[in-house]
């Protein structure tokens, strides 16, 4: 039985290891003999490493006396490397007195040293290659994104034709997660935003004695612009990232493949319910943010300008037209669709390991916030031209 033979060797080894060589690693050259002593191990070799490079070697053959040395692999490699350098410079090198364990280690590093001699060429791409690669990758990711939109649209169309296909349970769950659970954070931030705007505007208006116009400032800013925007940004950070992380994890654990193999379209089960839920939830959250922002404005106007809540609400009807209100709310479904699409798409882009989930989630949040702001700017320009 072959491990019987091995164990004999091991017993020998143990004895050798037991008679520990004392002292730090050292090398002394006298005449043609270099005597190595002490423990040549990774922990103790840093001094020797530099000395080996600067030592004055005899011009003729070199004899290494290894009888007083204990090696580990690093020590054996350093000696082997030195011997090679000497041989390359035309000297004869003799290694003598190594005990069996040291001999084995020297053989081991010798037989594996080929890896060091043939350094692997790491291909470092030049500037143009990098630009090219990056452009191609960007182009491909846009193409993939449009393909994804198409696929989702096709699934959506099929579900519209046959509403029984819709996953109502999933939609309800997503509504709870993306909508109801976001109420506290959206409410708090919108309230604070209302307070801040009222404060900033209020100090200026007070100087002019135009206190009542604080209502116009707070209401228009919140309802037209800030409530839809801040809600979309919060939802992108909160829900969009969750979509990417969920789908990405399912990619890594092969759950998406499992769905496909069972014959369930991942689009139908995962993307569509999220999308529908968010398109419903985000406008509702925006209305809620409008209200909370106005409450913030009322509180601040009252304490800063002494404007009563009653007068504030009275003025509100004049300050904010229905068109203004709708133009704010109208943006929300567009933002919602965008956030859901980007979030889900980035989830499906995850490949490899758990590390990819984190990377893709970051990309997803950055992209959806970026797109939300860009689209918001586009809306402003469009409204400006339409005179809304």
């Amino acid at each position: 039985m072959h491990f019987g033979i091995c164990s004999g060797k091991v017993a020998g080894n143990a004895e050798i290891a037991d008679e520990m060589v004392e002292g730090t690693a050292d090398i002394a050259v006298s005449g043609s003999t270099a005597r190595c002593t002490g423990r040549w191990t990774a922990q103790t070799l840093d001094g020797i490493e530099h000395r080996l490079d600067t030592i004055a070697w005899p011009t003729g053959p070199v004899r290494f006396d290894l009888s007083g040395v204990e090696f580990d692999t690093v020590g054996a490699w350093l000696l082997n490397r030195t011997a090679r350098t000497l041989r390359r410079s035309g000297r004869d090198v003799l290694l003598e007195g190594a005990d069996p364990a040291a001999t084995r280690l020297l053989e081991l590093v010798e037989s594996n040293s080929g890896a060091c001699d043939a350094p692997v060429n790491v291909h470092v791409p030049g500037m143009f290659e990098e630009i090219g690669r990056e452009s191609e990758q960007q182009w491909r990711s846009y193409a993939d994104f449009f393909a994804f939109i198409g696929e989702t649209a096709a699934t959506a169309a099929a579900s519209v034709l046959d509403p029984r296909k819709l996953r109502w349970k999933q939609i309800a769950t997503e509504l709870q997660l993306a909508g109801v659970n976001a109420l506290p954070i959206v409410g708090l931030l919108a309230f604070l935003l209302g307070v801040v705007i009222a404060y900033q505007g209020g100090t200026v208006l007070r100087d002019y004695g135009a206190n009542i116009f604080i209502v116009d400032i707070v209401a228009l800013a919140m309802v037209r612009e800030l409530a839809p925007l801040i809600t979309a940004i919060i939802v992108a950070g909160r829900t969009g990232s969750a979509y990417t992380a969920q789908i990405g994890t399912m990619m890594v654990t092969e759950e998406i493949d499992a769905l496909r193999s069972i014959g369930i379209a991942p689009q139908e089960l995962l993307v569509l319910p999220k999308m529908i839920a968010l398109v419903v939830a985000l406008p509702l959250l925006t209305v809620y943010a409008d209200v909370m922002g106005l409450i913030g404005g009322i509180v601040m106007s009252h304490s800063l300008l002494g404007l009563s809540a009653h007068s504030f609400v009275d003025r509100l009807a004049e300050a904010v037209s229905v068109t203004s209100f709708l133009s704010g709310i109208g943006k929300a479904p567009v933002f919602a669709g965008l956030i859901a699409l980007v979030g889900c798409f980035q989830g499906f882009q995850v490949s490899g390991s758990a590390e990819g989930v984190g990377r893709q989630t970051t990309i997803s949040v950055v992209q959806s916030i970026f797109l939300v702001i860009v689209i918001d700017a586009a809306f402003s320009i469009a409204f400006n031209h339409l005179g809304i």
Binding site: M1, F3, G4, C6, S7, G8, K9, V10, A11, N13, A14, E15, I16, A17, D18, T41, A42, Q43, L45, D46, E49, H50, D72, T73, V74, W77, L78, R81, A101, R104, L105, E107, L108, V109, N112, S113, G114, A115, C116, A118, V120, V122, G352, S353, E355
Partner: protein, 262 residues
């Protein structure tokens, strides 16, 4: 037949119990690892093999009991005191445990870079040698863990575990998830390491062929204890119920026949 001359016990486990929540995984384990041996820990899924390995490698602490590593009690040890011991052991993780943001060469160099003052050049050469030693080719050295197959990842993990010339290597399922050819190659490698470097190896495995090939001693865990311990032949012949159940199955028998034939 397994070396009677060897006296040094590198790891001594005494009365170790481990509890996770309400679940007691280990209920009084006693186990010795002698220098220069390959000890295999076997047992069914959930029998606490990996838990025991983690305890011995100082990756977690037992609920009750004593573990002595190189004659030092490690169950209550602090990090500063554990460091010199950690440098003397190496752990190969089941899925590699390789750092994802470094390539294989850098991964293998981490222990040397962290714990020695060797030059970068030497560290890189040592990493190259280790990588060659575990049978990875030079192209693999500059790849990232995500680009490697399971077998290559295990090899890279082994190369890193050996970076500081440890006296004891802990291997967590070194051949699981590998094709038979790669499993054989890993077994060969483990044997070669033991023979050429005199390493002591503790391995957790399910792999019957691997057990017959490499293990000097086998400890079978059942019901939270070491049910039987001995050479593979002894365990295969054992009358103990747990051993009969574990080694008497069709796969166990097949491996035994294969081992006897070879």
């Amino acid at each position: 037949m397994v070396d009677q001359q060897s006296t040094a016990t590198l790891v001594a486990v005494r009365g170790v119990e481990m509890q996770f929540g309400d679940k007691r995984v280990l209920e009084g384990v006693d186990l010795d690892v002698a220098r220069g041996q390959i000890l295999a820990i076997v047992g069914g899924s959930g029998s606490g093999k990996s838990t025991l390995l983690r305890l011995m490698a100082m990756l977690s602490r037992p609920t009750v009991g004593s573990i002595r590593l190189f004659d030092t009690e490690v169950t209550q040890i602090d990090d500063a005191a554990a460091l010199p011991l950690r440098k003397r052991i190496g752990v190969m993780f089941q899925n590699g445990g390789l750092f994802g943001d470094m390539n294989v060469l850098e991964n293998v160099g981490v222990p040397l870079r962290e714990h020695t003052r060797l030059s970068d050049e030497t560290i890189e050469q040592m990493a190259d040698i280790r990588i060659s030693l575990v049978g990875l080719d030079a192209d693999a050295a500059i790849k990232y863990p995500a680009q490697l197959s399971g077998g290559m990842r295990k090899r890279a993990s082994l190369a890193r575990a050996m970076a500081l010339d440890p006296e004891v290597l802990f291997l967590d399922e070194p051949t699981s998830g590998l094709d038979p050819l790669s499993s054989d190659a890993i077994d060969e490698l483990v044997l070669e390491l033991k023979n050429s470097l005199g390493l002591t190896i503790v391995t957790v495995t399910h792999d019957m062929d691997s057990l017959w090939r490499i293990a000097d001693r086998v400890a079978l865990l059942a019901n939270g204890r070491v049910a039987v311990e001995g050479t593979m032949e002894e365990l295969a012949k054992s009358d103990h119920a747990a051993a009969r159940e574990f080694f008497g199955g069709r796969r166990g028998r097949a491996s035994e026949h294969a081992a006897v034939r070879s």
